[in-house]
């Protein structure tokens, strides 16, 4: 099994899309911090709304609250793309047959890929928080502000929550890659589901009244959003609705979704012919 994980990791860590994805995470984080800092330091240019924001939210004490918002839906969309590429491209390149005609069985090969993908999503999560921490530290240094960090437990929980969200959606992408046996359609449908289809469905179910709130609580997007919200926000919005579900429930629901996506991928890979 270690050999399979090593092989899958070797494929992921050298793949340009994955490297670009990791760079994107760092770049977006730095950009957001940079833009926000510019707005605070140039209120005349940025306008009143931005000037009113609390500059202290950019310091290390609040970096978790600033960063975790990138997990969903932005991070989730990136995870779908990476997951879909991991499975869909194997059909186009004809590499799936190479993988499956070596020693490991189909489910073992998939397990190795899921583990490697999970490791990569963990790396992305660490990169995101690492970049956020460094940016906040730089800004605190620029302002000559004292540095204080959130507790290590909070940081660990936030990294874990982001990893769960990215992991869940990378498995959705992976499963869609196996469904369509190509990357492009899997990426397209996955992202459309995340940003459009689910939104329409949520609005529709919301319109049915409170009797159907349990349906809303089952949507993966609602749970991912609630998990992010459960950590609070750097700048509280009094008009924002409270999280639909608690953080613990969101973790369970997302874990169930992740397992379901992995099971779909396993079912498709083990039953289908590779033509």
């Amino acid at each position: 099994m270690m050999g399979i994980i090593k092989a899958e990791w070797r494929k992921l860590r050298q793949r340009p899309a994955y490297i670009v994805g990791a760079a994107l995470v760092v770049a977006v984080c730095a950009l957001v911090y940079g833009v926000n800092y510019f707005q605070f330091t140039h209120p005349a240019v940025a306008g009143q709304a931005h000037a009113a924001l609390d500059r202290q939210t950019l310091y290390p004490a609040d970096f978790v609250l600033n960063v975790i918002g990138a997990s969903f839906p932005l991070g989730a969309a990136l995870a779908i793309v990476l997951g879909a590429l991991a499975s869909g491209a194997e059909y186009g390149w004809g590499t799936l047959k190479t993988v499956l005609t070596q020693r490991p069985g189909r489910l073992q090969a998939l397990a190795g890929r899921v583990v490697a993908m999970g490791l990569w999503m963990g790396l992305l999560s660490c990169l995101l928080y690492g970049a956020g921490a460094i940016c906040s530290l730089v800004i605190a240094g620029l302002d000559g502000h004292a540095v204080s960090w959130p507790s290590s437990l909070v940081i660990a929980q936030a990294v874990g929550a982001t990893w769960l969200i990215l992991g869940c959606y990378s498995l959705l992408g992976l499963a869609l890659g196996f469904v369509f046996r190509q990357a492009a359609a899997a990426v397209g449908l996955g992202v459309i589901y995340l940003v459009l289809l689910q939104t329409i469905l949520v609005r529709f179910v919301s319109g049915l009244g409170t009797a159907y709130e349990w349906v809303l609580k089952a949507f993966d997007g609602e749970n991912a959003g609630s998990l992010v919200q459960s950590f609070g926000t750097a700048v509280p919005d009094p008009h924002a609705p409270p999280p639909l579900v608690g953080g613990s429930q969101a973790v369970v629901v997302l874990a169930v979704y992740a397992l379901a996506f992995a099971a779909i991928a396993a079912g498709l890979l083990s039953r289908r012919d590779v033509t």
């Binding site: 070797r10 047959k97 005609t101 020693r103 012919d273 033509t275």
Partner: protein
């Protein structure tokens, strides 16, 4: 050790769209031989090979490959395969691709250099696979198949898309690989290639195995060809000796319907009659003729 490395019985594949790709295939490949799997495009060769390596599940029938069911880990550990094109990662170098395959197959990385040397790609191993020529890609595919030091090597149309030089190199490589104890199953629709390389062939057409025999058995020996001067005199002598039905004139030569072992007798009779024999050889059918006869295809079509 089992005498047969591949054995199938009633192997059948019908796709969901109703297409019967392989029908009731009984095939056996003996240990240590180079077996040619011949058939026109769409005959069912690739489907058969994909069933043998476990990529496609048969609708009915069974197969044993290297002593195991197709796709079984223990069987795959003893089987190297190149099914159609080399399926390797375009963004990885040749060597990194080999590392991926080695890790998947549970083979130490120390096997990589000898295998790259064997296919003459050691100097190009640092280049990205996507930049390789078609011939290099196929050779790296063969290298990947050889990493496990397999006792059975399954090669599906390995010369497809290669230029004449690439084809010649690949033929040389396959010939080398087929020496010793290794069994090679080579699928091809290139008859010259199979005739040059293989010990035994199976011919598949319309999903059915039409015949399975040695190349010599398939080509058969059906007489001797004689080129002599004057040809009319030679015809008279041989007709008188062997009967009118045994001698026919074709394109300025005589085709004599006797056992080729009696060639010396023909030569002696013509010499005794003062006729100069410029050529005398067994008359064999080419594998191409046999193939077209068996598959019902028209030559040159």
């Amino acid at each position: 050790m089992e005498p047969t490395v591949i054995e199938t019985h009633g192997l059948t594949k019908r796709y969901r769209n109703g297409v019967l790709a392989v029908a009731d295939l009984d095939m056996s490949v003996r240990r240590g031989e180079v077996y040619g799997f011949l058939g026109p495009n769409g005959a069912g060769k690739t489907t058969t090979l994909r069933m043998l390596v476990g990529l496609i599940r048969p609708t009915s029938g069974w197969a044993r490959v290297a002593g195991h069911a197709p796709g079984d880990s223990a069987g795959l550990a003893r089987t190297g395969s190149l099914v159609e094109t080399a399926g390797l990662y375009p963004y990885l170098s040749g060597r990194e691709n080999m590392k991926v395959v080695a890790d998947l197959a549970g083979v130490p990385h120390s096997r990589i250099d000898p295998v790259l040397d064997e296919v003459d790609l050691a100097s190009s191993a640092h280049r990205r696979f996507g930049t390789y020529s078609t011939g290099m890609k196929q050779r790296l595919g063969v290298a990947a198949a050889l990493l496990k030091t397999p006792e059975l090597l399954i090669l599906d149309e390995p010369t497809n898309g290669l230029d004449p030089q690439g084809m010649a190199e690949m033929r040389r490589l396959i010939r080398e690989l087929g020496q010793g104890e290794r069994t090679v199953l080579l699928s091809s629709h290139l008859l010259g290639e199979v005739q040059q390389i293989c010990d035994r062939v199976g011919v598949i057409s319309g999903g059915r195995l039409v015949t399975q025999a040695t190349v010599a058995e398939l080509r058969g020996e059906r007489g001797v060809l004689v080129r002599a001067e004057p040809i009319e005199g030679a015809q008279q002598v041989l007709t008188a000796a062997l009967g009118a039905g045994s001698v026919t004139t074709v394109d300025g030569t005589l085709q004599v319907g006797i056992d080729p072992a009696r060639g010396a007798e023909v030569s002696a009779r013509l010499a005794a009659a003062g006729i100069a024999v410029t050529e005398l050889r067994p008359l064999e059918r080419s594998l191409e003729e046999v193939f077209f006869q068996l598959t019902g295809e028209e030559q040159g079509s």
